[in-house]
Subunit: 130 residues, 2 copies
């Protein structure tokens, strides 16, 4: 079996994730499963339906993620831990009263399903307030 | 078996980790094992000795971590994924020429060893540049 290219998978995943998020967020549903977890600004969701609903209902309607090269490590279960830091640029905000970019960090753990496809098992998103 | 209190363990761990870091960094060695990984500002270390050497040799000699309540999730292997965001306050810097607090984020995965003690399997630290 070939060695898993953790950094390559992480980079590809993160680019795909944020491109999907910034164009049509509901399509993120394909990346989660029934046992996936999301903690978004300390509010927890379990399962693909709850997670997708949460992401689609976030106050900012148009957003762009600008992010640095992610860091990745293998985890004991054969998954991949990914840490991303970046900035959230809101292009059309409805609730927040300022438009400066918001620094954030996000950690994902990717796991493989029975078919070998990578999905998001753990997802924790947090704004970094200076 | 009692349910594992993930948020409680995460909070206790993070407080212990940063108190140790800010008082006598070399004592962090007790929290890592031979298969632990550290990615510090995208530079990777493997194993307790390399990790401790890296942490002890960081340019800032006195530092204080100010951090928000961590977010925690269980991982598939029975571990705990923890995301912390905070600020690094250097009290005596030798290399950097500015002393403003540096926003950072750090993700840990804690696992249990054969004796049931929690240790750091994954550790990724990254400054969040605005």
């Amino acid at each position: 079996m070939a060695a898993v290219d953790f950094p390559g998978i992480a980079k590809q995943f993160v680019e795909h994730y944020y491109t999907t998020f910034d164009t049509d967020r509901k399509n993120l549903a394909t990346l989660y499963r029934e046992n996936s977890m999301l903690t978004f600004e300390s509010v927890q969701q379990l399962g693909v339906n709850n997670i997708t609903e949460k992401l689609v209902s976030l106050p900012f309607q148009k957003v762009k993620h600008q992010f640095a090269e992610p860091d990745a490590q293998p985890s004991p279960s054969g998954g991949i831990i990914i840490l991303v830091t970046g900035q959230l640029v809101r292009r059309d905000f409805q609730v927040d009263d300022e438009s400066r970019p918001l620094p954030y960090s996000q950690v994902f753990q990717l796991c493989q399903d029975a078919n070998g496809a990578w999905f998001v098992f753990n997802d924790v998103f947090k704004l970094v307030l200076g």
